[in-house]
């Protein structure tokens, strides 16, 4: 049975004019994160210096890794006469000092509003360099339009991935490779996805791949650009792959990298939600079985079995607990699906994103498990979430660390997932996806509830 759309469904967006404690980040930040997942790449913001510095700081506080973002550092006169000269000088300087394979140029609200034609400026830059003959070989330069007044960091992220494919993929001979567009997931998630593909005997092209670039080892020397990332040759070859898997429950119908590969090069596109929880992961593994012609390899089958065993062992701890879930739309859909599977009752699922597809995606993943769909609410901030949740008596919160103030005020646990995590250690190593991620998530949810129970108990039980 699929639940009818809840009568408590909210209209899109907040009832208020002002935004308090946003539940989203700005568009160019997402673009920078995506560019960071390409081998030899330097993200570059065309705008004023502050944007790059703020985003670097925000990203560094989560990953605890160097995150260089170059800037065209526009000043007042550039805002009036155009940012072209600074953009070109900035590109030249990055080429000179970083010797990158790729520069990913993202725009900001300043340069979009003053009307800089960035693709044209980049073409001019390349022509000028070639005419001068001084700077061969030039890196590839990919541009993406990412004004922060349009969308959230997720639109910036997907936009940058699409721009990479659009501007780098060429007609390539058919191959057995599988493209995987994972969206914004953790370095640990990407490492795990690679392991899964390998175990199925599949050659994967994962774009972007932040598994090393934003979670690197200690080394002998300081690298100007961290090692790892999707190789440019792989991106160029994506057009010949036999299929594209694109994660994101709210992406259907949108103009994504996966769609572009399908339309321009005829690569079969499989869009699916993030493989989070049991059933969404089953869909993913099922597709891999089809694509590889192999059965689920034993280590993964065992992990699935252990997850089922843990669901049984832990079911009473979580059944009926009321959860508020917030964050990026696709992550919220995946988390809610998992919560519904284990018997937690999601009561509010909120996002700063406004794709318009959130509620439909939610109904698809958990409509048959819940007597009533939770309040599903896009385009909101933490003020809205707090107002709405107060009447819902939640037992736990699941989301990034910016909901901590609510957890603290209400005296309930926050299970930290996704990005950013600024108040705990190891956010870059959190696993969310697949059977293994679901297992870890289950353990963390149950342990948070047990810790709460222990703290609230006058007895101090030693067995729980």
């Amino acid at each position: 049975m699929t639940a009818a759309v809840s009568h408590r469904h909210r209209a899109q967006g907040s009832p208020y004019v002002s935004t308090t404690n946003a539940c989203k980040l700005c568009t160019p930040l997402g673009a920078c994160l995506a560019f960071r997942g390409v081998e030899g790449a330097v993200p570059f913001l065309h705008g004023s210096q502050g944007c790059a510095t703020y985003m670097r700081r925000y990203i560094i506080s989560h990953f605890r890794e160097p995150m260089d973002i170059a800037s065209s550092s526009l000043g007042e006169k550039h805002a009036i006469y155009g940012g072209g000269p600074n953009l070109k000088q900035g590109l030249k300087n990055v080429v000179d000092k970083y010797q990158p394979q790729l520069i990913g140029v993202a725009t900001t609200c300043l340069t979009e509003t003053i009307g800089d034609d960035v693709p044209r400026m980049v073409r001019e830059f390349v022509q000028e360099c070639q005419a001068g003959g001084e700077m061969a070989p030039l890196p590839r330069i990919v541009t993406v339009s990412s004004p922060s007044y349009r969308g959230t960091h997720m639109e910036g992220f997907h936009g940058a991935v699409r721009a990479l494919v659009e501007q780098l993929a060429q007609a390539a001979p058919p191959s057995a490779a599988v493209n995987l567009l994972p969206g914004l997931v953790s370095p640990a998630d990407i490492r795990y996805l690679k392991e899964i593909l390998r175990d199925f005997g599949l050659t994967g092209i994962i774009l972007p791949d932040i598994s090393e670039t934003l979670d690197g080892p200690q080394e002998m020397t300081y690298r100007r650009i961290p090692a790892g990332g999707t190789p440019l040759t792989d991106i160029a070859a994506m057009s010949g792959s036999r299929a594209t898997l694109e994660f994101g429950a709210t992406l259907s119908g949108q103009d994504t990298a996966g769609r572009l590969l399908a339309q321009r090069f005829g690569v079969r596109l499989f869009q699916m939600g993030l493989p989070l929880g049991l059933r969404e992961t089953d869909r993913f593994f099922g597709l891999l079985e089809t694509l590889s012609g192999r059965e689920n390899p034993r280590p993964h089958a065992l992990e699935r079995g252990r997850l089922l065993d843990a669901l049984v062992d832990g079911h009473k701890y979580v059944f009926g607990k009321r959860a508020v879930v917030y964050g990026e739309e696709d992550l919220v859909v995946g988390l809610t699906a998992f919560l519904a599977e284990i018997g937690v009752r999601p009561v509010l699922c909120a996002s700063g994103g406004e794709s318009g597809h959130l509620e439909a995606a939610m109904a698809r993943v958990c409509g048959d498990l819940l007597p009533e769909l939770p309040v599903v609410w896009g385009g909101v901030d933490f003020y809205d979430i707090a107002q709405e949740a107060q009447g819902l008596a939640p037992d736990l919160l699941i989301g990034h660390s910016k909901g901590y103030h609510l957890a603290r005020a209400w005296g309930i646990p926050l299970i930290r997932v996704g990005f950013p995590i600024h108040d705990r250690f190891g956010g870059q190593r959190l696993l969310h996806l697949g059977y293994r991620g679901a297992q870890q998530l289950l353990d963390r949810i149950i342990n948070a509830l047990l810790a709460q129970k222990q703290a609230d108990s006058p007895v101090g039980y030693g067995y729980l």
């Binding site: 004023s48 502050g50 985003m55 200690q218 300081y222 910016k402």
Partner: protein, 461 residues
């Protein structure tokens, strides 16, 4: 690999001893150089942020507000309105049709909801471009709601952080002089340029109170609108972090004749001298006597535990890269007190006079740098073989990837580093990072020592 230093930046780096001092500074950051600087908005936001009973509304797209939400550990003893992040979250249609109406409605909504003592409205890049009449909207709301609503002209591209400090001072200056100064003691001060990170301003207030002085306004740590409004009644402005609030001190001197002195609360030497300077200003023997007593008491408590750290840290090398050069002076002295050597010092926004003074107190061979970037900093840290780097969050991964200790002397510190007790905390933090056993396992450090592989035991004869 090519050298890390840009030709255009060569004159922003000085090595003491090699040549006579010359350093270019206060210029626009070089495009593509990955400057550690932020923007005008950032400068205004960090200065005004700790005013805890004011509404801080960022007029612009969401990023500027999102990245400054609860960003500083600026504590409040009362209201905590400053810890919320308010934005007009401008959308594409606002950019096309103008954001004034949205700003007006957002302001009215938030003032009704929170009943703040005043509102600051920050302009961002885009507002400067689309030409919203910020001042006009602020004036209208101020009249309708009966509270000060003050525009902050902080468009990001209009200069660097220093311009933002200036805009913040101009905004605060609109409040100064609007309140009653009745009952303020002739022995009174305002504390300027302390932001109450980790409760630091409470330490300093305690010192002044023990000296017999009344503190009228905290500017801006644990700040209140009402205190700012009567700040012109204080006898003296005591100004730390000179870059951030010096403009306000100058404006107050000009309009109200309030004298000011520059101080620093970091390190033993500067802390003690700052208190003495304030005491001497009042020309009252009992205040000077109380100050001597205070310093004596504090030093007696501080020195014994400090010795332990000093012995362990003797001879270690330190690098400093901070926002304003002023802090660097005190840090150099603090490291000297620990018998450590500073081999690199730099700042985002120092002035020529600052750097001149730095060059005078530094040892030969010290690198002095203005508006640096990760490539330069990483190369200097390696070249100078430092043991600890002092900076902010953006500098931390540079140190750690090089296997170098780190001390956060910026917004995110949770231990007070000001005052006499702050010196002890600083020493403990330096010790905690420099003496950790983890460094010896890193490949960079191990290259210099042979790796110990287990050897098989000889079979028993």
């Amino acid at each position: 690999m090519k050298p890390v230093i840009f030709r255009e930046r060569a004159d922003q780096i000085h090595r003491k001893g090699a040549e006579p001092f010359r350093l270019t500074c206060n210029k626009e950051s070089l495009a593509g150089a990955v400057s550690q600087r932020a923007c005008v908005f950032c400068g205004s936001r960090v200065v005004l942020y700790p005013i805890a009973d004011a509404l801080h509304l960022v007029h612009g797209p969401i990023g500027c507000a999102a990245y400054t939400w609860d960003i500083r550990g600026a504590l409040s003893s009362g209201p905590e309105l400053h810890r919320l992040s308010f934005s007009t979250d401008l959308q594409e249609k606002d950019i096309i049709f103008g954001g004034e109406e949205k700003l007006y409605r957002a302001l009215v909504e938030l003032i009704d909801r929170h009943q703040p003592a005043a509102a600051f409205v920050y302009s961002t890049c885009i507002v400067g471009i689309i030409g919203d009449d910020l001042a006009g909207v602020c004036k209208k709301v101020s009249q309708e709601k009966g509270l000060p609503v003050i525009p902050v002209q902080s468009e990001g591209f209009r200069g660097n952080k220093r311009a933002g400090y200036q805009a913040a001072c101009q905004a605060m200056f609109q409040l100064v002089g609007t309140g009653s100064t009745e009952g303020i003691s002739p022995y009174s001060v305002n504390i300027l340029g302390d932001f109450n990170l980790a409760g630091e301003i409470w330490i300093i207030r305690d010192y002044f109170q023990r000296m017999g002085l009344e503190v009228v306004a905290n500017i801006t740590g644990d700040g209140r609108v009402r205190d700012l409004q009567r700040a012109h009644g204080a006898a003296l402005n005591v100004v730390q972090c000179a870059g951030a609030t010096m403009d306000l001190a100058r404006m107050m001197q000009e309009k109200y004749g309030t004298p000011f002195c520059r101080v620093s609360y970091f390190g033993v030497e500067d802390m003690a001298e700052s208190l003495y300077e304030v005491a001497r200003f009042f020309k009252a023997p009992e205040i000077l006597e109380r100050t001597r007593e205070l310093v004596r008491e504090e030093l007696t408590a501080l020195y014994p535990p400090l010795q332990h750290y000093r012995q362990a840290l003797r001879g270690k090398k330190a690098a400093i890269y901070v926002g304003g050069a002023f802090k660097a002076f005190s840090l150099i002295k603090a490291f000297r007190l620990l018998d450590m050597q500073v081999v690199l010092v730099g700042s985002q926004t120092g002035t020529e006079a600052d750097y001149q003074e730095l060059a005078e107190i530094c040892d030969d061979g010290t690198i002095i740098v203005d508006d640096s970037n990760p490539l330069e900093l990483s190369s200097f840290l390696q070249e100078q073989e430092v043991d600890i780097f002092v900076g902010g969050v953006k500098e931390r991964p540079i140190a750690y990837k090089l296997g170098v200790g780190f001390c956060d002397h910026n917004h995110e510190r949770k231990e007070p580093l000001e005052g006499f007790v702050g010196m002890l905390n600083f020493a403990r933090e330096v010790y905690t990072t420099v003496m950790s056993p983890v460094w010896r396992f890193l490949p960079r450090r191990q290259a210099s020592r042979p790796r110990s592989a287990p050897t098989a035991e000889d079979p028993a004869p």
